[in-house]
């Protein structure tokens, strides 16, 4: 076979690129135009960037230069870490508890009429549309500074997401067990208790654990708006330009998050195996 024959045999593969996939060419062109537009829109200038980065050089240097290490206030850092963990734990636990009824009510499997389901789902969408930091800011205004506002922010933000995940888990559950219970004369409550809950509980728990994990990350940033925890220590030190201590705290946070990752993965595997 000559080259020409092969090309004729598979015309689509050997078309020039613009003929083969016009969509990708258009997309690349659009992205290119968009980048030019945004360089203008944001007034990007290489000079400013270089200036900024040269300003960062001493910061980066002081980050790793821990010469007064022993004089740092480790006590407040430790309390901050404990507070962050406590906030994440309480917020996730409270959200998980309230998400069970909310999630079940938003599920097709439990509530057959679509109207209440629709209302609950839109309400959850509404909660999820607001970032956790905005909730934290609102609660700080209402309840004052401190970790308590952080717990409430985690609680509200997680209720939105966890309820949705719970309702999806219930939607995806197997109908047969519920039907079996119904056909043997069980009432609504016992079909839920013995038909649905045993199926979805492991999923609920592992999702909650996953959220505890991700909340121990988000609890870190809540301190920036004054909602307590290690984030408060970090942002205070960054504002005061104690870059060395700030970097130390970032490392501690990374270690903490990695440890919780491990723990939660271990527990999730355990739960699925029980």
């Amino acid at each position: 076979m000559s080259d020409k024959e092969i090309i004729n045999l598979h015309p689509r593969i050997f078309y020039p690129l613009w003929k083969r996939s016009p969509l990708s060419i258009i997309t690349s062109l659009l992205i290119f135009l968009y980048i030019i537009f945004s360089i203008n829109y944001f007034n990007f200038s290489i000079e400013d960037l270089l200036n900024g980065f040269s300003k960062m050089k001493p910061i980066l240097y002081s980050m790793v230069n821990w010469n007064d290490f022993l004089s740092w206030n480790f006590n407040s850092i430790l309390i901050g870490i404990l507070q962050t963990l406590a906030m994440a734990f309480l917020g996730t636990l409270a959200a998980s508890i309230i998400s069970i009824p909310l999630g079940l009510m938003a599920s097709r499997q439990v509530v057959r009429i679509s109207f209440p389901r629709f209302i609950i789902r839109r309400f959850l969408d509404f909660i999820r549309g607001v970032d956790i930091l905005i909730w934290a800011l609102i609660f700080v205004r209402a309840f004052g500074l401190g970790p308590f506002s952080g717990v409430l922010a985690i609680f509200v933000a997680d209720t939105g997401t966890l309820s949705k995940l719970y309702s999806e888990a219930a939607d995806n559950s197997d109908n047969k067990q519920i039907e079996g219970l119904t056909s043997s004369g069980a009432n609504k409550l016992s079909t839920l208790r013995f038909g649905l809950i045993p199926q979805v509980m492991p999923i609920f728990i592992s999702q909650s654990l996953y959220f505890f994990e991700s909340n121990s990350r988000s609890a870190v940033i809540l301190g920036i708006v004054g909602a307590g925890g290690i984030g408060l220590q970090l942002s205070e030190r960054m504002k005061a330009q104690y870059w060395d201590q700030a970097f130390f705290i970032i490392i501690i946070i990374l270690i903490m998050v990695a440890a919780i990752d491990r723990l939660s993965r271990f527990l999730r595997e355990k739960i699925i195996n029980i």
């Binding site: 900024g52 910061i59 309390i79 507070q83 549309g129 930091l133 800011l137 209402a142 990374l254």
Partner: protein, 293 residues
């Protein structure tokens, strides 16, 4: 014979139930202990909660607009109209546009860098284990540090404005997408690449023709998901001065411009939800069709 079997069986069942109950009691007790410990650490008590709840109610009723049904569609001079509530709409829209652009630009740049790095951090495409290890750790660092922390740092270096936020989001996007992309690469089929190698293709063409067509739908889908996340993130980066509508929100919350708080939050929710829906539509329809083709 069968009676013995049933008895045995019942005994086993009882043992199982007993064991299960013991586990449950153990879990509940340890949860209770954890709750008590955490509450004592962050100093929560019921009186504070009870005192706070009415205040929260007050706050919410304060930020809600006082709309009047008779003057709902009058112009912005009349109290109680929607136009009065949203008298600052042009400013909000301008800021929302900035927020949107921050997220989009950070997603584009971040995903491009992530794509380049993902070849180095996937086990089956990395040139050697040292580069693999180093890229992985770097990506982990960028992913592990929250973007708002990066934003504080860049605001300090580059000044207040959206550029600091864009760079912060770009770093975080690179970290998380780089990891996801490299996992997609690792799950790809090696056969097309082997065929290319056998017919004399070099490394770039191996990647371009053997790997990318397989992984591209997944990569685009992850990028769209990340764009949703970045839209959310860019609404809050303004809290530390890194541009977007968050700056305005921070201001109105702290200065107690009550009705503006709800106006901005509603706009943010609408933006986030519509972007989510758009991205879901794109992921479900456009990409999968492309994949089948």
């Amino acid at each position: 014979m069968s009676e013995i079997f049933i008895e045995n069986h019942n005994q086993k069942l009882k043992d199982l139930i007993f064991k299960r109950r013991l586990w449950n009691i153990f879990i509940i007790i340890s949860l209770l202990i954890a709750v008590l410990l955490s509450s004592s650490i962050i100093d929560i008590n019921s009186s504070r909660l009870l005192n706070g709840l009415p205040r929260l109610g007050d706050y919410i009723s304060q930020i809600l607009p006082s709309l009047d049904s008779s003057s709902l569609f009058l112009d912005s001079n009349k109290e109680g109209s929607i136009a009065y509530w949203y008298f600052n709409l042009p400013k909000y829209l301008k800021l929302l546009f900035e927020t949107f652009n921050m997220a989009l630009l950070a997603t584009i740049i971040g995903s491009s860098i992530a794509l380049l790095l993902s070849f180095l951090s996937a086990k089956n495409t990395a040139p050697n284990s040292f580069i693999y290890f180093m890229t992985r750790r770097t990506l982990e660092f960028f992913r592990g540090v929250p973007e708002i922390i990066f934003a504080i740092l860049f605001v300090w270096a580059l000044g207040i404005g959206p550029i600091a936020g864009i760079i912060a989001m770009t770093l975080h996007t690179t970290g998380s997408l780089g990891k996801l992309f490299s996992e997609v690469h690792e799950n790809s089929d090696i056969k097309p690449r082997e065929a290319l190698k056998a017919s004399g293709g070099n490394w770039p063409s191996e990647m371009k023709f053997g790997l990318l067509p397989q992984v591209l739908p997944n990569l685009i889908s992850y990028t769209l998901l990340r764009f949703e996340i970045n839209i959310r993130a860019s609404t809050i980066l303004g809290f530390v001065g890194a541009g977007g509508i968050g700056q305005e929100l921070y201001l109105v919350i702290n200065f107690n411009y009550y009705e503006e708080v709800s106006a901005i939050i509603l706009l943010i929710i609408l933006t986030v939800i519509s972007i989510d829906l758009l991205s879901e539509y794109l992921r479900k329809n456009v990409i999968e069709v492309d994949n089948v083709r």
